[in-house]
Subunit: 195 residues, 2 copies
Amino acid sequence: MKLLQDQIIKNGKVLSENVLKVDTFLNHQIDPVLMQAIGNEFAARYKDSGITKILTIESSGIAPSMFAGLTLGVPVVFARKRKSLTLSDNLFTSKVHSFTKGETNDISVSKDFINNEDTVLIIDDFLANGQAALGLLDIVNQAEAETAGVGIVIEKGFQPGGKLIRDKGIRVDSLANIKSLSNGKVEFFEEETIR
Amino acid sequence: MKLLQDQIIKNGKVLSENVLKVDTFLNHQIDPVLMQAIGNEFAARYKDSGITKILTIESSGIAPSMFAGLTLGVPVVFARKRKSLTLSDNLFTSKVHSFTKGETNDISVSKDFINNEDTVLIIDDFLANGQAALGLLDIVNQAEAETAGVGIVIEKGFQPGGKLIRDKGIRVDSLANIKSLSNGKVEFFEEETIR
């Protein structure tokens, strides 16, 4: 997605060979116009997939998911990273290790909001090691729902998450797929190789 | 806001005299159509206020903020509830006690995203004891920015937060203001008394 790649080139900061900081438009400050374009792109790609629900994870998956949900006409459910006292035990849970934060969190989704009649589009901001996406897939499986695919804003294609998920036969749509962050420079895979 | 009040009556669950659960449409599963209406209502109320930035807090403030930001044509910044390793020390921080969760969190916003030229609309999903809103106001003050007002989706008007903030001379717009949750029933203040 050219608009997104342009934003990454213009405003992303390469902090190391593994870390791209995009907090000016995606995961701290958020650009609503870009999020709408991203949400609409996911919606266009999955418009014929019979999606009944979008599943994401707090916090940075929420913004693009809102616009995809609006366009597809379906609710958005976000997995929480830990239990809140106003949630009961009526939960699907999974464990997600964050290599960035160096910690493992429980993620949870109320059993009220996903069930075996759902066709789910999973959306997240980043795909790197794939742990968050695998946790969300686990929750969809526990609910005996169907996964239509995984929509990712930025994949770090040089890390193993994308292959892990595609090797399970699951469709992954990454709107920007980064080949390398070497030498302080962002290099993308060609669009054709990622679709 | 009638659409919101209707949703609260229809789908909110009164768990006690203090606790209203709205996780079917606001803070776990999210209704994008309602969020768009809410965001547009905030935008309409603040369209002449010279807003340059929306400040909210993860996670449930993000969805309504996105639509307000889109309509007002300004970025959304969400305060994080704890530091992430990819954020530097370049932060405004404040402490927020959550009575619901029984814990105190640091909230933080990068100094890159709010400064003394900003006019800020603060948005959050709930106003009860006012601790989150006070933390966000503290951050706006640290940045020497101006606060145009505080937009709240659901105020629990029988709790002290709203008065605390209004007594500081700060405008508060609550789209639904709850007078009482007694006897398992939601009762609202009249619209006129809250504007």
